[in-house]
């Protein structure tokens, strides 16, 4: 049932031009510019890692977070969620089916842009860690999307509710990439997506110890758990009466 819902959801995303553009063209366009200008980042504290962190955050925020919040709010507003719940499909299957397309779209985009960057530059130093950081970032954005969808009334309202966690992580990725790793490391790691951004930079540049990288995973896991708890409390399947 999850696959059936996911297939239908993918069709709906593809047929909705504004969602399709914001989920694919904008993050891919941004990534293309960063890859094209990669040599300009070599003197940055994070080096090409700046481009890696920025691309990964842009794709996961725009391709997954914003898309998932917008589509969940839209499906709720049109009572599509209620109709899905009128079938034999369970809640977990329904949610998994609805978020699967933006997750897969984002994962494919990440693979493409990082693959292209790897082909035209040196790196990544630690491909496995890069994959782990990508998966953690996607999991974080998915959990944050579910939590944000709980307080979002409509697709139009999503333009407001997604703003903090769209601009915040993108700005944070730039801050981390443009400043020394010694500058406010705890604050950077504790802000949502800060730790995964640092992790992806470490994975590309290969200049951090294993213990440091493992430590960077903890804040992300904490944010995922907190977001899922908020989602469990706030998420509703029908428009509020």
């Amino acid at each position: 049932m999850t696959f059936t819902i996911a297939t239908s959801e993918l069709k709906q995303i593809i047929r909705n031009r504004s969602v399709l553009i914001s989920a694919t063209l904008i993050p891919l366009g941004t990534s293309a510019l960063l890859i094209f200008a990669r040599d300009a980042f070599r003197d940055f504290p994070a080096g090409i890692g700046f481009a890696v962190g920025s691309m990964m955050v842009s794709i996961s925020v725009l391709g997954l977070y914003v898309t998932a919040v917008t589509t969940l709010a839209a499906r709720r507003q049109t009572l599509f969620l209620k109709r899905l719940r009128s079938t034999a499909a369970g809640d977990a299957s329904i949610l998994a089916g609805l978020v699967a397309p933006p997750v897969v779209i984002s994962a494919i985009q990440l693979a493409i842009v990082l693959g292209v960057l790897a082909a035209v530059s040196d790196g990544p130093a630690d491909p496995l860690l890069l994959i782990v950081s990508g998966l953690l970032l996607l999991a974080l954005m998915l959990a944050l999307a579910l939590a944000t969808a709980g307080v979002t009334r409509s697709p139009e309202h999503a333009q407001v509710t997604t703003l903090p966690l769209t601009l915040g992580p993108i700005g944070l990725a730039m801050w981390i990439g443009l400043t020394s790793a010694d500058s406010a490391p705890i604050l950077k790691a504790l802000l949502p997506s800060g730790a995964t951004t640092q992790l992806s930079i470490n994975a590309w540049n290969g200049n951090a110890a294993l213990g440091e990288n493992l430590l960077l995973m903890l804040p992300t896991l904490g944010w995922i758990a907190a977001a899922l708890i908020i989602a469990k409390i706030t998420f509703h399947w029908e428009p509020r009466r």
Binding site: M1, T4, I5, S8, K11, Q12, R15, N16, R75, T78, L79, F80, K82, R83, L84, R85, S86, T87, A88, A89, G90, W237, E238, R241
Partner: protein, 300 residues
């Protein structure tokens, strides 16, 4: 054998507002039960509890002997026509019926179902391009997909033209002949009067009356209504209505009508717009609403 639907003292509350209070009813296999009432009577909340969408504040709801929130077990046997909405404007009618049909856990043929509801030639049309009536027919198609044992219809004919309503009822009648059980809400009381085996009348969240049409309507007197020329004297027993007409309420329709016609002939009075008949469901519903609204201190 369990009844298909068992509702025992169901209560549903939103904040401080009781939408449903202590409502009990059962629906037997093969029966068509119509739950009727005024707006805000608690019909939709009752249906949503039955569908597993709305948790009960009190009481219990069983469908096929199970909690309706056990979706996988109950929904395979239940078709649901929602009151409105729920289709994606980006999908076609065919894609929509295929999606919700396959998720129902029952098997059927999408082209056949669309033909049954008269949407065969609109299969490739996006839902956004369908008229309101066509979307209601698509909704009905999802409910009857795979011939479920129980079909819940929430105001199924709202927005349908006369032909589409007749077509819908012919499908319902055909399924009933195969033993399908129906629970229906509608504001078209004449449809319930014509098709339902039993009727429950709700008002203020409570079930006020239940039975066959005959059992419910016999609680009220029959009525004879007419108007008279200006200045004419009304017969004794006639009650003047606010619109200037007259009504005679009686338990002896035939003899009272005979007496009225004799009086008119003797007095050479023309009875304009003469109508006589048994009470209708809407008379009973109005009577129930009027009775409750006249009782001070009744609150929800």
């Amino acid at each position: 054998m369990h009844p298909v639907i068992e509702i025992d003292r169901l209560s549903v509350r939103y904040g401080g507002f009781w939408a449903v209070r202590e409502l009990s009813l059962t629906v037997a296999q093969g029966e068509l039960y119509a739950l009727l009432g005024t707006n805000g009577a608690g019909k939709t909340s009752t249906l949503e509890s039955l569908e597993g969408h709305r948790p009960a504040t009190g009481g219990s709801v069983r469908v096929f002997g199970r909690d309706p929130r056990q979706r996988r077990a109950v929904r395979r046997r239940t078709g649901i026509m929602l009151q409105n909405g729920g289709f994606s404007p980006e999908l076609s009618a065919l894609e929509s019926i295929e999606l919700f049909g396959s998720l129902s856990g029952r098997k059927d043929d999408a082209a056949r179902i669309l033909d049954v509801v008269g949407l065969g030639d609109r299969a490739r049309t996006a839902v956004a391009q369908l008229s309101g009536g066509e979307q209601r027919r698509l909704d009905f198609a999802t409910a009857v997909w795979g011939r479920p044992e129980l079909i819940i219809l929430d105001e199924p004919t709202t927005g349908l033209d006369v032909n589409a309503r007749d077509d819908l009822w012919s499908v319902v009648d055909a399924l009933r002949s195969e033993g399908t059980t129906f629970l229906l809400t509608t504001h078209y009381l004449e449809e319930a009067q014509q098709h339902a085996d039993r009727i429950g009348l709700t008002h203020g969240g409570r079930l006020r009356s239940e039975g066959t049409v005959h059992e419910i309507t016999r609680t009220l007197p029959a009525r004879i209504s007419f108007t008279l020329a200006i200045g004419a004297t009304a017969p004794s027993g006639a009650e003047r209505l606010p619109d200037g007409g007259f009504v005679i309420r009686t338990a002896q329709l035939q003899s009272e009508l005979h007496a009225l016609l004799e009086w008119a002939a003797d007095n050479r009075v023309k009875l304009q717009g003469l109508e006589a008949g048994s009470p209708r469901l809407d008379d009973v519903l109005r009577s129930i609403a009027k009775e409750e609204d006249s009782q001070p201190g009744v609150s929800r």
